[in-house]
Symmetry: C2
Subunit: 149 residues, 2 copies
Amino acid sequence: MNSKIDQFDQKILQLLQQDARISHAEIGRQIHLSQPAVSERIKRLEAAQVIRAYRADINPKALGYQITAMIRLSTRQGRPYAQYVANCPEIIDCYTVTGEDGAVMRVLASDVEHLQRIINELNVFGSTSTAIVLTTHVAGKPITVPAID
Amino acid sequence: MNSKIDQFDQKILQLLQQDARISHAEIGRQIHLSQPAVSERIKRLEAAQVIRAYRADINPKALGYQITAMIRLSTRQGRPYAQYVANCPEIIDCYTVTGEDGAVMRVLASDVEHLQRIINELNVFGSTSTAIVLTTHVAGKPITVPAID
DNA sequence: GTTGAAACAGAAGTGCT
DNA sequence: AGCACTTCTGTTTCAAC
């Protein structure tokens, strides 16, 4: 599936992950390719859904979220938490995973009371285990093609 | 800190999270404001670091990553895993959290052998607990200002 | 793949209410 | 704060190579 992604494409993807607003001409300067060539490659990568979207990265603290938490949810007999998750604005990531915990989610809360309310609501669907984020070492690190080793 | 973020700003942030490439004029159309007014607000939000960056969202599968895993790491007497995490391209998120597990990370791997290698490397720093992602319900949901309740 | 030109869209600056 | 208008930058599309 990535057979057609060469070194140029990799560099383009890296630059666009660092800054989606970089101009095609500037990319061309950095990878020694002309601006139309860069534009065409980006168009291809977008069409192939390698580039899914361009998104603004918003600082949660600036919006009043003082707490980030990782909550693991062990559902009781597959209760339908999916709809709740989709409609809860504080839950920004949610994955179902293998193992004891059916789901892992990343949650934003303005304070501990707010977090408490979310946990209480999630407890309807199963038992939860909450870990409050103390430091963020990396978040959304730009992804690269797997090394061929 | 979010005292100056009004309804217009909220809508602007929502639209930019959905699509960072939407034009200021189009935003203006949707919130009934002129293009310069929108541009000025965005400039303010960028300067205040409410908008941190604009990033391309890349599809990991398209780059050859078939597996996403959540790995929890219980470090032995605070071993310095931070540097390893920073330099390991497969680890795209890493948080230190409260509780038993010192760290939680999101990891990409091309296959189970690849995942195995990463886990082995992390085991140098402590004991790991790995959960493979089966389904992604939401990832990077656009964030909104906390409801005033 | 390249350069160069033309057409178009979007962002930024200016002046004014 | 806001808008209308102008200018400038960047993207797109085309030609020809």
